[in-house]
């Protein structure tokens, strides 16, 4: 009971901030790609967002591919590897094309916001360019606001100047969404509970397991309006970030679903961002390129996990 109460302020706050854009709805068969920096990248190791969206529609098949990369920006600054960022950007577009998504969740803005007002214009231009460059009229875009920082105690920096910038960038993204008829999700940092040992972050900036869990309702509320699947309250992580133990029934299934999603994400990570890429596909492939065949062998393993996810999801529908 305490848990639910804890989330209440967030939901209330969301309701008032909900934009007037056309209601977004996931469809059966949707293929979702996530793009962004650490906010997106780190979701894959906890999986609460993806689990929340999957469980919201237990009867629909929705697959997720996380292409987040720490430190990334709309210019794909983290994706160059041995090439300039422009080539990393091109590779990202190519990969998105191969994944053939119907929905793209874009989570950029947090790193760009450090540049403040002077960087805003070029950010907006490049953000639009990115959406233009992702070819495909069928794709529905979900644009996430950058997440403000939580004021942690000294010696971490005073976050208010940064958060002012985040607001600026969030507003810009909201305008982009409005212009392009995309869905905007105004993410906010959940309040710390007074009796909680830990908040949604441990460095003021990046969500922890608990942080992803506690922000998941914001995504669900914004993207799964009339959904009837279970929410994640029963699998709230412990203060140490570990999943709760001794789960039963649908709660156990939900946690099982989440760990399967995390496993699938891990396999997909090895598929698209394998270690030793220098030797497998890069300029030293003359030495180990023969082992690149292994990388495609992740595909059936990912498919296997997807089947498992589908089974768990369906059983949630049954148990509803």
């Amino acid at each position: 009971m305490r848990n639910i109460l804890g989330c209440l302020p967030v939901i209330l706050c969301l309701c008032t901030a909900q934009p007037a854009a056309a209601e977004f709805e996931f469809r059966d068969g949707d293929r979702v790609v996530l793009l962004g920096g650490t906010l997106i990248e780190r979701e894959q190791r906890y999986g609460y967002w993806e689990t929340a969206l999957t469980a919201a529609h237990p009867e629909r098949s929705i697959t997720f591919r996380n292409l987040g990369w720490s430190g990334d920006t709309v210019w794909a600054e983290s994706r160059g590897i041995f090439d300039p960022p422009a080539q990393g950007y091109a590779r990202m577009l190519e990969l998105v094309g191969e994944l053939d998504p119907t929905v793209i969740i874009v989570g950029y803005g947090n790193n760009e916001a450090f540049a403040g007002e002077s960087g805003l214009e070029s950010f907006v231009a490049q953000y639009n360019k990115l959406l233009d460059d992702i070819d495909g009229e069928q794709i529905r875009f979900i644009l996430l606001a950058p997440l403000p920082m939580e004021q942690a105690s000294s010696p971490l920096p005073d976050v208010s100047p940064y958060n002012d910038n985040v607001q600026l960038y969030a507003a810009a993204i909201e305008s982009i969404a409005a212009e392009r008829d995309a869905t905007f999700v105004p993410l906010t940092m959940p309040q710390r509970e007074s009796d909680s040992e830990r908040g949604p972050t441990d460095n003021g900036q990046h969500l922890t397991a608990y942080g992803y869990w506690s922000t998941a309702p914001q995504l669900r509320a914004a993207l799964c309006g009339g959904a009837d699947g279970p929410a994640l309250d029963p699998i709230r992580p412990t203060p140490t970030g570990r999943p709760p133990t001794d789960l039963e029934g649908s709660a156990a299934t939900l946690e099982d679903l989440r760990t399967t999603i995390v496993r699938k994400n891990e396999l997909f990570f090895h598929r698209w961002r394998p270690q030793n890429i220098t030797y497998l596909f890069g300029f030293r492939k003359h030495e180990q390129g023969n082992n690149a065949v292994e990388i495609a062998q992740f595909d059936p393993l990912i498919a296997e996990q997807e089947q498992h996810i589908a089974k768990l999801r369906s059983s949630l529908a049954v148990s509803q």
């Binding site: 990369w69 720490s70 041995f82 891990e266 270690q275 030793n276």
Partner: protein, 1150 residues
Amino acid sequence: MLNRLIALSLFVSLIGAPQTAHAQRDLKVIPPPDPELERETFILPEGFEVNLFAADPVIAKPIQMNFDPQGRLWIASSEVYPQIKPGQEATDRILVLEDLDGDGVSDKTHVFTEGLLIPTGVAPGDGGCYVGASTELLHFRDNDGDLKADEERVVLSGFGTEDTHHILHTLRWGPAQLLYFSQSIYIHSHIETPWGVRRLNAGGIWQFRPENLQLQVFARGLVNSWGTDFDDYGTTFATDGAGGEGINYIVPGASYLTAFAAPRILHGLNPGSPKHCGLEIVGGRHLPEDWQGSFITNDFRGHRVCRFVLTEQGSGFYSQEQQEVIKSDHVAFRPVDVKLGPDGAIYIADWYNPIIQHGEVDFRDPRRDHTHGRIWRVTYTGNETLDRPDLVNMETPELLDQLRSPEPWTRRQAKRVLKERGPVILPNLKAWAHRLDNTQYDDHRHRLEALWMYQALDVVEPELLYSLLNCSTADARAAAVRVIGHWQDRLDNPLGLLETAVSDEHPRVRLEAVRVLGEIARPESVEIAMQALDAEVDEWLDYSLWLTARDLAPVWQPALQDGQIDFGGNARHLAFALKSAGSTAAVPSLTRLLVAGEVSDADLPGVLDVIGEFGSPDDLRIVFEQALSAAEQSPGISAACLQSLLNAHARRSVTPAGDLTPLSTAIDSQHPNVSSAAVRLAGAWRIADLWPKVVAIAEDAQTNGSRPAAAMQAIAAYGSDEAADLLQTIAESDRPPPVRQAAIVNLIAIRPQAAAAAAVNFVESLQRGEGAEPLFRAFLARQDGANRLTAALADKTIPEDVAVIALRTVTASGQQFPELVAALTAAGNITSGPRKLSAEEMQAMVESVQNIGDPARGEAVFRRAELACFKCHAIGNAGGVVGPNLVSLGATAQLDYLIDSILDPNKAVKENYHTVVVLTDEGQVFSGIKVRQSDTDLILRDAEDKEIAVPLNQIEEQSPGVSLMPTGVVDKLTQQELSDLIAFLSALGRLPEYTIGQNQVARRWDVLLPTDQTVFRLRRTSYAAAASDHPELAWQRIYSRVSGDVPLAELPEIRVPGRVPPDGRGMSFLRCEIEAAGANNARLLLNSPDGLSAWLDEQPLDLAAETEIMLTPGRHRLTIGIDRSVRTDDLRVELKTPAGAPAVQFVGGK
């Protein structure tokens, strides 16, 4: 567009053959894994022992280890390395080893956490440990002290994984409890922190404060640096597991070998070393006196644990290797990390694997070991091991007293405990620091420990800082200066403190001050930093000044233009800053000083260099006028000015403003340097009025020296039909060969076909091919030049030697011209080419080497002048640097690899040694090994070992070239000789007698040639004339054998008539150079003094088997005369210096 993939591949110095399984494929016998059998192969210095601390199955594959304050050893262990298989679970672990009873053997192994993907570093701390694993820096916390992690936290993420032996590694707490870690050359990291995104492409060392997530790059570069440590005063050092420069002295903020896009780098202290992994500076009461402060690292390829001793040298250090801590021939002994233990012993992590690396050997090679691993413990029998202190249970005052412990381990760990106790210790710390006895030995170091504790707790304590900045221990002052940087925002007058430090009497204090100034973004910072130019500036200081001037450029350049700062009117300071930062806008401030005559003669070349490189047309006008007015009185200045104008035109196409015809007076100058430069400028600027004058010089049969060549160059630059006609006429004339050759060379660019015809005509008459090389090189350096030459050679015959020289020139170009090679081969009627062996032929060749190859005979083949091996390859510190150093070739490369490398050099080019071919917008072609690239230039090293800078904005195309190693180099060897040669190469670094030891032996020599002039000179004076620098004496470079001996039989004999009886033997003369870092005594050790006379510089030396010599700082020449009628033994000369004295060493290199 530069392709970074190619660029990087040039840099990487991992041993690698393009075909997998090449380098280690001979390995067929996998040794039994019994640790005792391994231990029996260990050779240690006298008085040392080694025991097994821990081994498989309780541990496997240790990658990094660190002790905690309780004395437990934490290990990052990976069985998944090198690459996770599809479907494989990541199961790697962090292990903690406990020696419960203190007997030097681990009793208990705890699995602290598991399920990791290739953890490559671990540092215990903050209630658990930090772990580098894949893209993340993680922290695991143990809440109940059962040595099992209860919580996992992502501390940082975004580290690259492009190579699993380059990923985030080498975690180490620094002296002020900041966490340092490294990444290596292939890694690109993008890390979000609350302070902004931090990015690092390629290698580097990070510095991190976990509690506030401040992350910065502490140093850049190094290929694969798996060792970082700090000496007692926080001076920082690193080793490189893929570089070859031994110990690297790390200047804060500096770039080292292979740093991405670094225009300039610092080098390590032991060039020519094998790769080294791990680093620990050891000391304490358990180890003997001469081991105090020793640097221990590992040569994991050569199965050695190595020891180095460093001595101060200027603002840096000199490093010398000592006898190994452990030497073994066990193929699976792979020491990778080393740490001093709580008992004063040295602990060594043995990764235990017959196969190393994962580039050249298949990821899935069945011989890869995934399960074994050992920790060895080295003790000294002369001293007891130490009782382990119980730091965590000490009260704070007692713990603070541990900062005065003679044990480096105890001091380090006590600081860790104090730091984790947090600000509550501050009152105790203050009291302890006040109580320190300033009369006690090492007091300043104790104060420094206190200062570091304040820095660790991020509390500013100015009084303590000031007292250290003013103390009498230079190391402590240098360390305190570094702290100013951390506290700059919270100190009253940091620039005032640094202004004092920048003129400190000790160069390393000056260096640290210069680097801290680079972090203080104020215009005055650069003015203060440049004051360090007023004292002696060595390479490290020069680099630091350059770096600071560049780092601060965005701040000081506008301030200089606004007149806010003026460098005190000091032209040298200003020129240095401008040149470092590559500034254009600020050049007028420099020309003002030039016009006002405020630039001293000594500073003039530097100042002109900067103006030439960056000046506007108006700036260049001033230089031009200076050149004209100085033409007669100060020809040196005038020529330097003209040269800077030539550079400005060549590099940037900028000419002086205004009328250029007054150049005429400089052309008429009596001084050939002035006149030649002026003639070139007339052409470069295409001054029509001066054309007749240039033609007159070219046509004047009487002119000589450099003027005809300058005139030809100028004529070609005019480029008209008239110019081409004139050059063609001269090329086809009967004027002396140098004049014709200059005409042909310059004709190539404007009338290539005629030039090629004239060239073939010209070389037909050169029987011995003299002077043909520059001519061919000029053709190859022009787009289409080779094709023209090929066409002109059709149906012609040229002398065989000319063809040989031409073919060699083609090889040295790093480009492939198959048609030209065929044409030259036909015209010269010769046979040669790469040899490709079938599998059976290879097998036969391998057997031939194994059965009949003799390394001793092979060394003699290697040394033959006609093979010219040393011209490109060094063995140890002596020899060329165009090709790889061969010092440990045999320890890593297998026979088939060696055979291929010699018979078909392009089959397997070592990665540092690929060439690039560059085409400029002017149609010029340059080729060589890429050395580095700056913001403005690509720097190549050609086959002649010359560095060439090609301005980036002139590069039109870049493509990979081929090996500079000549094909067919061994064509004239017999099968026996070839087998011997390969046997020799395969012995290098593998067999003891072909391994370069730690002794300082003279390896690079010049030998006096018996020319007529030499004999004449020695006859007119005495043998002592050989010790002089007389220009008529002709010397030739030679090198010692690997053993250090100079074979007497290879030395030319000089017979001075009248002094040598007709049937007697003559003399041989050798000389080498000795560099002394400071005034010092050293001893020369000879294998025998028989028949030798010697001179140090020009003073005779009385030689004995051991001879004491006195050296002043600087370079000295040791000349040795050998009476061949007396001496038959080979010569070996060694240097010994007393420990702790300034370094003395033989000069090596090419």
